[in-house]
Symmetry: C2
Subunit: 461 residues, 2 copies
């Protein structure tokens, strides 16, 4: 049995050959003498035309099959005389593998994305989602390939954690206590010593700290796994469960972090454009007309670098009517980020050296004592795509910053060890996988790039 | 700056060249005139020898550095006159990047694995764990590469789920209710409508069912992600959080499932042997002397196939003194599995067609009405490595099996849809990633192949 992807990739070899293929009926039209089936087997975005002649024993049965019945076809690959396709299969035998019914909710007409979200188990069969989730797969591979080729070690950082999140966001609790009958201490508090891990545990919001431990052993590492936020944000950009990539590099400063993230973004865009040309053309045609031009321009551009302070000056002296006012010290909003990269830089840009007050405790304090060696990568059309920093490697300064953030230093003794025993300059960044995927596909809602999205009030399938 | 992996891989190019490298001191010996530092930068298992002459300004400082201080070295790569190494670096300048202290818990002496488990943030710097987690990374890549080359779509199945586990094991609850002050309904029950997802949710035990939905769209798919069990099993083979690979293939029967898993196992073993030769030699020398011979023999062997019923006959007629008695209908224990593959087959073997009573509801009922189209791959030294099956694609039989398993069919309506609308023969298997890694490295405890293991009572770092 052959896969359609192999036939499409080796057209010349297959012409005039007898083949067996299988797949689902995407479309069909029949008259009394002949029928045409558009068959898709899921291994490629393209469908193949099956020509069905009335001499087939089960011609009548086949002509009545509803979408998306599954069939197995034997026949000859022949050059196509008409139509859009170069070749088609003249069926000599068709076996019905699985029939469909008229209750199939995904009929030929166009459906709204909202409706398709209610049938997540079927929507990968719809063109848009079929393309999205294949690109998701190819993008994952591109990331692994990029880091593997550079000798990075892939670190599986833990999902369940006893850490309190370093203020990165609200966490989900994980427990196997009997919630209807919680054990209590003498003080009446919940007795977590009886929980599975003998203490309270949560779902991770980031693998960075554990990633740093690995970077002190392997120099260059990355994480790629699910992360969680229990934030009650019902927006098109927030999900409770999403995937994140967090590289961490030792003997490296902010410049190295910037260089790595720029190389990575160009590499993965290029890989996806080369390995999913049909899907990317589809997105460009039906989702976002400027997509391919924008992505190609990113691959070929040199990313600019600008300090946060410079950006604030530019924003303040602009005539733009921003919804949120700008002053040195504020966190930039998407409108500001997009203005900088779309109107000023006209391409991707790294902003650097943000005020320490608006950034995390682990970011390295600059000599000005006001800013930290942080960077955000801003891209046209979306704003922030990546956030990174050089990490504070100086033990005393890090301890002071943790105290200033009201953190319990004892809980992070292991993290401080990384500075005590052969610490090095190091840094890293976080890439939200779904945000990258939205950027690549033009899809506007994070629910439409997650196979089975988990958001406030929504956990189906 | 160069990575040591690149210097080792291109020795001839680097000889007589000036280089800059960085890394951690693994070992050093100094007299008044000269010193030798074993430097490792984490990009390769190998260390490079740095020759330090007393003419260096900071010779005294360098000579006193404690393990594992971080340094940056400039110098020339030269052929080595003595010793084990082919070449070394004559240092012309050494900059101290991060000093260590005498409190470093990982001194040169050998430590027990038990002790190293208490310093999970530092143990990747110890030889054994450095090798384990690099092989873990390479094995991950091998899996992605195998499936990508065959056009499989990588499906990120959800971690948080409202499903009740299909009886696969105890689940962890996920909640963001205030556990000290749980909201109650009028009946006094916990009011999960106020929880984040408006209903009770858990951590997934398997992505298979969602994987099946993807297989009905892409034909060939796989999952690779964390899975969870809240089982109170304090053994060397159980962890609460572990990674699993679950391929699912459409238009496929049990034979195809067997073929795919055999191809995969051979491919990934070969890839790891080729891409981690130093680490694999280390495991063979220090962890398990028969390792390389066993792995090479698996790569070159043809896996046998035997029915469960045949295996029971063999076990019953053997003179072996098993701890657990054997009768048709019992679940096989590791002692039985190992006897079959080590003593009878003398190599890997697939057992097939197990009694339906001991297997999951979704496995396809055979025509004998007594067995299901299930298979376990058994390998010498470990027993079961992979469990798979053809899935029940016939709607009525599947519904009956779910009823027999006391499942609530309404909860699985979406899963049944996969049989209603163009269902096909299909199947798949699950590979416990850590079990495969233990098999590859000879490591005996799952806690020692997980970067930050989560087991009963243990959730540190």
């Amino acid at each position: 049995m052959f896969l359609l992807k192999d036939i499409f990739a080796n057209e010349k070899i297959f012409i005039d050959k007898e083949v067996e293929v299988a797949g689902w009926i995407k479309n069909s039209r029949f008259n009394n003498n002949i029928g045409f089936i558009e068959l898709n087997d899921g291994t490629t975005f393209r469908s193949i035309q099956i020509v069905v002649e009335s001499k087939l024993d089960n011609f009548q049965t086949i002509s009545k099959l509803l979408l998306p019945s599954a069939i197995i076809v034997k026949g000859k690959v022949v050059k196509s005389l008409g139509g859009k396709q170069n070749f088609e299969i003249n069926a000599s035998e068709i076996v019905v593998e699985g029939e469909s019914t008229d209750k199939y909710p995904l009929q030929k007409k166009r459906h709204t994305f909202e409706f398709l979200r209610t049938i997540q188990h079927l929507r990968p069969r719809a063109n848009t989602f079929n393309a999205v989730f294949r690109v998701r797969s190819i993008l994952s591979y591109a990331l692994h390939k990029f880091f593997f080729e550079r000798g990075f070690v892939y670190a599986h950082t833990p999902i369940i954690t006893a850490s309190d999140a370093e203020g990165a966001g609200e966490m989900f609790r994980v427990t196997n206590l009997d919630i209807d009958n919680l054990p209590r201490t003498n003080n009446g508090e919940v007795d977590f010593t009886q929980d599975f891990f003998s203490k309270p545990t949560n779902l991770t919001v980031s693998g960075q700290l554990e990633g740093e431990a690995f970077a002190m052993a392997y120099r260059n590492i990355y994480t790629f796994g699910p992360t969680f936020r229990a934030e009650n944000s019902n927006t098109t950009r927030h999900a409770a469960e999403f995937w994140m990539i967090e590289p961490e590099i030792a003997f490296a400063d902010l410049k190295d972090v910037i260089k790595l993230s720029e190389d990575m973004v160009k590499y993965i865009i290029k890989f996806v454009l080369e390995n999913a040309p049909d899907e990317m053309k589809f997105f460009n045609d039906f989702i976002d007309n400027g997509l391919l031009e924008r992505l190609n321009s990113v691959v070929n551009s040199e990313f600019k670098v600008m300090t946060y302070t410079e950006a604030i000056e530019i924003l303040k002296s602009s005539k733009e009517n921003f919804k949120y006012p700008v002053e040195w010290g504020v966190d930039l909003k998407t409108e500001h980020e997009r203005y900088i990269c779309e109107k000023i830089v006209k391409g991707p840009v790294f902003l650097t050296d943000y005020p320490k007050e608006i950034k995390a405790f682990y970011m390295r304090l600059n000599d000005d004592n006001k800013t930290v060696a942080a960077t955000d990568m801003l891209v046209p059309g979306i704003g922030e795509l990546i956030g990174g920093s050089q990490r504070e490697e100086r033990l005393e300064i890090l301890e002071q910053k943790m105290k200033d953030s009201n953190m319990n230093i004892d809980d992070y003794s292991w993290y401080l060890d990384l500075r005590r025993f052969g610490g090095t300059k190091h840094g890293g960044y976080g890439l939200g996988f779904e945000r990258m995927l939205m950027y690549l596909t033009g899809m506007q809602n994070i629910r439409d790039v997650l196979p089975f999205p988990r958001t406030v009030g929504l956990c189906e399938f």
